[in-house]
Amino acid sequence: MRRARRFMLILTILAAVLGVLAGCRPAQPTATPRPTTAPTRAPTAAPTAVPPTAAPPPSKPLIIGSWAESPNLNPYYQSGPEASTWMVVEGLLTVAPDGSYAPQLAAEVPSVENGGVSADGKVITYKLKPGLKWSDGEPVTSADIRFTWQAVTNPNNAVVKTLGHENIVSVETPDDLTAVVSLKERYVPFLTLFPALYPEHVLGDLETLDNADYNQKPVGTGPYRVVTWVSGSHIEYEKNPYYREQGKPLLDTVIMKWLPSREAGLAQLATGEIDILEDITESEVATLRQNPDVEIVTMSSLSSERLFLNLSDNGDLSKPHPILGDQKVREALDYAMDRATLIQGLLEGQATPASCDLPAGAFGDPAIPSTPYDPGKAKALLDEAGWEVGSDGMRVKDGKRLSLRISTTAGNKVRELTEQLLQEQFGDIGVELVLDNKPSSEFWASPSEGGQRHTGNFDILLYTTGPGVTGAFVDPHSHMFSYYHSANIPSQATELRGGNYMRYASATVDSALDQAGSVFAVTERQAAYSEAMREIAKDKPVLFIYNRLQIHAFRKEVKGWTENIWLSQIPNWDIQNWTKD
């Protein structure tokens, strides 16, 4: 009797365990209900009384593979532009492939000439294109523009960046299609305002946007709208029936798939399970080139890998850096870098030598040359600066060795190898380079956490940045001002805030940047930035190494895309024109 009872107990426990395991059915996608006004895809079972021109069968879904899952789809709650969001959400203006601003939801780009910008630069008038609709059918009005401003500056909303909207004093809406924006003071990068519009009729009543459904399922004016988002797996989009371009988009369904493993992503591209692979590394290009079904697309970007040189003595602004404080030493390091070898060896030739922050575009100066490789000149410069070659090959001056620490994000293979190549190349001219890498979270740590960029406790830093690295909207001002203006030097007085990590102060650059930030005319700004960049190229607080290329892989079946280096992080910027065979 006791044995039977025991046996039953074991059986019950095992059954419970197995029941839990077996009872768990495979997860249904967390399907959020489709909007009831949405027409479904073209019916596959056509009714008998079908007109001669029946709807075309639904096109095959386009599957885009991406490495890092977007945390949410709210444009102002994201750090950088996410390809997942900008198929759905649009703003007043965008940037065309030639680098000029172009109207997206606005009828035209406001300027002083067309009366869109007042003479003192403090009032901007936006006119919306007529007939615009949100993806739920409601009309887009100027109230949406006003609401966007209010939402972005509302302290109840934990938006990640305010992008200058805090400069806005008021937004008047004399009629449904006109918004008159008044600014506190002239804001030269005003064309970057309103990169995305929020729908007032959806979000207007919410106390906070932090937990709104909008964050997972935005309502926008873009060519697609979200159908479902299966967390960790994919987002499915369908054609936006209210999209303003007639007959577009050409593809009915787009799916954004998250690929946590690079090898799995490459395998899936090879088998055709995904059609596009975003943002692949240079080393993966070699594997993919062998596949005849895949086309490699390289888009140049505005970000460049550079060496940031600390001009202060470990953050102490009263003393120049004992080694790097001398411009001749910095110039020598510049000449000592063999960029061609780096690019060929580490990046399979998929990069171009960099020369300055803005080599192209409306504000750029393509005439600034990149420094050629000239170790002879480098050695001569160091000799001139008083650094003599010591017994072990490394230079010495007044008993001090020419030894510099270089730091980058640990674990990043390309950067670590770059450092080792530089060690060799600098060693040739008698400069000792000591590697001092840190894990990503420590490298990027904030001022309050004692991040080395902010405290100034470094000699050389290696990483990528540029006006194109962060936003889809590339006004160079915030980048240039932050990095090169002396007002942004971190110090005790600023509580270590400020982006001028090199502690670089140049009166010429300061006044040029001030000028560029205060006039509207593009030509005048370009001239000012050019002057600043030439001075920077002479003083060399930053040594430019190479311009990264944004590399994407497309299967041959996908057609209709064009390159836009200003939106290089959003390869699907013109997805409404894409087709798939």
Partner: protein, 316 residues
């Protein structure tokens, strides 16, 4: 028995509390934090970061943050993910089914293979079968899953095109059961290879211990058939430590199989934890660590109880 249970449960609370305290403070001590992904973006001004820290409650003193978290957690409010801005409970609920499905099937398949194979191998010790199975078991357990997973993808997905390379179902169409099963085969097989390697050795050694016992000789002498001896007597006793081991593996069904989920693009709990750790998403991390710790403690208790139930000599 009741006293024993009460004793164990009273131990549970302080242990859990200590675990949560330790986790919370260690996370805070690690440099970086949820704002670190924003600091390298020049468009995000220090004022923005300050504003965000205040909005998310990250600028309050650490012990206040911990207390807020604790009082809300026990009431069922697990907070909002800092990056996804969705309730943590919702996120976990979405993913936990996927992990239970994947790891559960992997465990079941692993056991289905390892129990008969282990027993047979012990019964026929020193035979060719024994050597072959123990070698395969060792290999299966030693090969890292990310390698075996990738090899499986290369062979069965890229070369042979028999199975898809990842995901739970095909995208862009209504998923059918057949489609889901096709997607399940590779990841579950890879996991099962690992589990069966792990368990075969234990089953075999446990069986070997039992097989040499005298009472089996008595059973044979009494006239029982070999099958009855093996199954009614030997297997039941050999299974006791295995049941315990399986109970200890159960928390792994919740915490997911990170490598498998990564290689096969499976949206499960392992990847959730990894991604939350990369982003220093404290609410998700705290919830996952606490639940996993609770499961480990409970499953240990379960294992101890089961052992007592099955083996009267170890009654508590």
């Amino acid at each position: 028995m009741a006293k024993y249970l009460i004793g164990r449960f009273t131990q549970l609370m302080p242990t859990l509390l200590l675990i949560t305290l330790g986790t919370f403070f260690i996370m805070q001590a690690v440099p970086g934090g949820p704002m670190s992904m924003y600091t390298q973006n020049p468009e995000i001004t220090p004022q923005d970061i300050e504003r965000l820290e205040h909005a998310l409650g990250l600028d309050r003193p650490i012990h206040v943050q911990y207390w807020n978290w604790l009082t809300r957690f026990v009431r069922g409010d697990w907070g909002y993910s800092l990056s996804q801005r969705r309730p943590v409970l919702t996120i976990i609920r979405e993913r936990v089914k996927n992990s239970l499905y994947l790891s559960g099937l992997g465990l079941l398949l692993g056991l289905t293979i390892s129990i008969p194979v282990g027993m047979l191998s012990a019964y026929k010790q020193y035979s060719l079968l024994d050597y072959v199975t123990t070698s395969i078991a060792l290999v299966g357990y030693s090969i890292p899953i990310f390698w075996s997973g990738l090899v499986a993808i290369i062979i069965f997905s890229v070369w042979l095109r028999w199975f898809p390379g990842g995901g739970m179902y095909s995208l862009g169409q209504v998923p059918t059961l057949a489609d889901r099963l096709r997607h399940t085969v590779l990841p579950v097989s890879v996991l099962a290879l690992f589990y069966s390697g792990y368990f075969t050795r234990f089953v075999r050694s446990s069986m070997l211990e039992v097989i040499s016992q005298d009472y089996l000789r008595t059973a044979r002498a009494k006239g029982l058939s070999e099958r009855q001896v093996l199954i009614r007597h030997a297997a039941k006793n050999a299974a006791i430590p295995i049941v315990t081991l399986v109970a200890l593996q159960l928390p792994g069904l919740f915490s997911g199989a990170l490598f498998t989920e990564t290689i096969f693009t499976w949206p499960g709990m392992g990847r959730l934890f990894w991604e939350a750790a990369m982003r220093m998403d404290y609410p998700i991390l705290m919830a996952l660590v606490t639940v996993t710790a609770m499961l480990v403690i409970l499953c240990n208790l379960l294992a101890d109880l089961l052992y007592g139930v099955l083996n009267p000599q170890v009654r508590v």
